[in-house]
Symmetry: C2
Subunit: 387 residues, 2 copies
Amino acid sequence: MNTQKHFTLLKTCDNARAGELNTPHGKIPTPVFMPVGSQATVKTLTPEDVKSLGFNMILTNTYHLYLRPGVDVVKKLGGLHDFMGWGGAILTDSGGYQVFSLSPLCKITDEGVKFRSHIDGSEHFLTPELAVKYQEALGADVIMVLDECSAYGDAKEKIQKAMDRTHRWAKRCLKSHKTKNQALYAIVQGGMFPDLRKASAEYLTQLDFPGYAIGGLSVGEPKDVTFPLIEQTTALLPPAKPRYLMGVGAPEDLVEGVARGIDMFDCALPTRVARNGALYTRQGRVNIRRAIYSKIDKPIDPSCDCYTCRTFSAAYLNHLFRAEELLALRLATNHNLRFLNNLMKDIRSAIMDGTFDRFAKSFLKTYQTTNEQTRVAQKGKWLKGRK
Amino acid sequence: MNTQKHFTLLKTCDNARAGELNTPHGKIPTPVFMPVGSQATVKTLTPEDVKSLGFNMILTNTYHLYLRPGVDVVKKLGGLHDFMGWGGAILTDSGGYQVFSLSPLCKITDEGVKFRSHIDGSEHFLTPELAVKYQEALGADVIMVLDECSAYGDAKEKIQKAMDRTHRWAKRCLKSHKTKNQALYAIVQGGMFPDLRKASAEYLTQLDFPGYAIGGLSVGEPKDVTFPLIEQTTALLPPAKPRYLMGVGAPEDLVEGVARGIDMFDCALPTRVARNGALYTRQGRVNIRRAIYSKIDKPIDPSCDCYTCRTFSAAYLNHLFRAEELLALRLATNHNLRFLNNLMKDIRSAIMDGTFDRFAKSFLKTYQTTNEQTRVAQKGKWLKGRK
């Protein structure tokens, strides 16, 4: 893997960076938000929709696809791109996070992790080598090392142990990685402890991966803990390599992440909240189910260029949500993803123009952050998974 | 209403007819199948999708829209077409069938029908005059009289009483109908009794409606009862007026209906079974959830030109259904509706060419009919509604 070719840093603006990922499925301008399609589908949307929303790269999940329909099935059907009809780039998560958060039982040894399927309870064993092998078979453009995920609130000693194992596993992943056209990223761990994050970033940097992810953040901790940790970690990562902040995608967090040197994001939140009727506007999130929208004959965001806003009134969306119509979920997903794509484009333009700082301040001043109940729910689920 | 203008009969082929409806929202070639969008949305699809599938006319439901979001709301938002973003023609059912089948309680007098909302239990009163008024406010191109629906298995005397009331109501609907650009259709009732059907057709014909529907069929009775009744009824209806068979839409029934002189159909079945994974092919219905499809790297119907078949393998669809992904519902709906649109086009071409009889025989020979469990379910629901 020629790591120089995988990423080009084009411009910086303080810590914010504009660049370009070079993948077998096209060049991806960064900073980039990747919609989540865990089960080889971005919920409610066709690949054609996702493309027309402006996205060139999505995320799918090895854990989910390994369990259903099976890695071998996807491979025989021509790999992930052919299977799901997506011509853009794909990043597969290794499944580490899902094993720890979804499996009703998981047992970790140095060799790997034994877990049960959340679908049928069947027992499985995943090692760093198998995680790489499965991702090579799926055929994504960017693949991830297997990591051991800690839970927010775990003792430092426990987190350090998990981090050390993540490091040993990263080395094994790198060693077993055979394909030339897939970029294998490492994952920096270390919980909420700056010294552990520093140790993790330093250890993984010397292994020379083509890209670095930051894992284990946005798992329930307050944001005044998250943001300094991101900033400290990116400062220790090689500038020539892309930095990927896993599982973060609320609009304000994208701006804050870019301001701290992040190039790539993924998150199920924007599409999940859409299906609950929470729609993004530059003024903040609105709940389309509220009665005040039932008679509004204007789009939810008159400045938005998405199909939903160009075609339907807030009143019609309100009706679809209240009537529990399936189209509601699709139109809302369409809107939120277009919002994020437009936001990332604006962010990138501002970086290229050298005005990112002004843009970020203006956006964060206007955008009303909401009580992120989804995060709390996520945390609850996460802790439930830790038996 | 100039009834000559509303429908033009272009060609007959034995009893089968090809014609054209003239509506304020375009000319509609007949025979036509109208997708059902009860709540002002064809489930899972955008109006753009419905149009690109080839449809120019859909059905929505007065009962549903009266209860939610309310007729006044839709009217203030510019009427049904603007509200749902649909530029084609719309037929609204009066809500008679839904009052009888969905309301937990309904009480009929000559004046009208008192019923409870299936949503919140609130009490409502619907009269023939109100049914017309609501449909005029919604703004559909074709509107329906309020009828009293009988249940399959009711005694003849009861059915005759309901039919007589339906006739009195039809007269009142006609009298109260004010708008010039909406065609009001009558509904022939009379249960499974040929003499009642005859009486109903004759009575309503002399009132000179621009179109005639046949109601109360396909409600659980065997098909060897349905088909002769359709044939006997259409024989009594004026050839210059369109005939609409309500609630019928299985592929084989469309062919059989056209063969007996029907011009218009609607049915929720094709989209409902799609959401259960039952997909139409010219060989019959297949269940995409079956394990045999999990590894098939070909479309479900290689001869089909729909987006689903052009883009995805049967294996991918099987995966989406098994993984309970929302996209599955949309792709299956897309396929079944395209199948029906293609079928209606082929039927019409065959009529125009004078070869419908051959087409129908060939289609019915190849198409394997299935055990229509949906009908039985429908019947159960229907009877449950009759308290």
